[in-house]
Symmetry: C2
Subunit: 161 residues, 2 copies
DNA sequence: GGAAGGCGCGTTATATCGTAACGGCACGGC
DNA sequence: GCCGTGCCGTTACGATATAACGCGCCTTCC
């Protein structure tokens, strides 16, 4: 598992791959990846960046759809609920899942300069959280793990500039 | 460092202690703990729970003040900026710091049943986050670590009920 | 003493994020 | 046919957060 976003990659491929995985997963689990849900996922996949719900809405409207906020939020709820996207709490915004299909407690890196959001390996982190919680006899159901900072590219840009 | 919130304690004492620490810290660092800022901190300290800004605003208004949202947000910005309170991103709400004065990257436990928020030791967690980020050459400036779940008391209550 | 600037705060208005609630439509089961 | 379920359109609204302006009180600096 690597973290896309900070590394060069074939973005068209990464989009279509994710879409295919989503389609397959929905087919397997009897979920309906409707046109709207699929379109919202595509929009999110278009950028390795968190988008606000209203930003997604603007894209839909630019395509000529007469969409309203609930439309977008419903699609996002579906995507988040089924692991195809994640909400970045720190930004009140949404990002496509980089590892759909794999069961994972997500952890994110948010570059404050360029806005890129990457999903990173989180096994050790999740372990540490559960461990700390266990000493207080707390049962963890869900975690929010988000780190804000500077990505390698922006650091290089800063150094250069 | 223990996590209050899930354990019995002398709450009045815990409030006045925190207030005194805040006063001392402000005096030391040339910060102004004005009446409003102090009042907002007191309100937050009143509960081991995250309060929305507008909830704090309601309390101020109930006390007869003609407060507006910016008043509360400014006080909260001051408290958060100087480590006397924390924002719980998951809840868009604020909680008094349980360990003012100590330098720490906070990590929180949020009970979904009773709403109690506890601050827990986070050294290992922060370490794990920095470690995972480092493998991607990402510089972490700030972390959001929030675990939602069930606290021991609510678990006991569930088992009993 | 008075100009200049920083800071805290009041106030108005507005931006941004999110949801409740109702109704229509399509599809599948019986 | 009739009903339940799930998806979606639509209206309206609630909740969270900030921009921008101005005032008063300091301190600084000359």
């Amino acid at each position: 598992m690597d973290a896309l976003g900070f590394t060069e990659h074939d973005h068209q491929h990464c989009i279509s791959e994710a879409l295919r995985t989503a389609e397959q997963t929905c087919a397997d689990q009897g979920l309906q990846l409707t046109a709207q849900r699929r379109r919202v996922l595509e929009i999110l996949l278009g950028e390795h960046r968190a988008m606000g719900a209203y930003e997604v809405l603007d894209v839909l409207r630019a395509e000529g759809l007469a969409a309203q906020p609930p439309t977008v939020y419903r699609a996002l709820d579906f995507l988040v609920g089924n692991g195809f996207a994640h909400k970045i709490e720190r930004l009140n915004a949404f990002v496509a899942c980089a590892h759909p299909g794999e069961r994972h407690a997500p952890a994110f890196l948010i570059c404050s300069d360029c806005g890129t959001v990457a999903e990173m390996p989180s096994r050790e982190i999740a372990q540490a959280v559960r461990g700390a919680a266990a000493t207080l006899e707390f049962d963890v159901a869900r975690m929010v793990i988000e780190a804000e900072g500077c990505c390698p590219e922006c650091r290089a840009a800063r150094a250069a500039g």
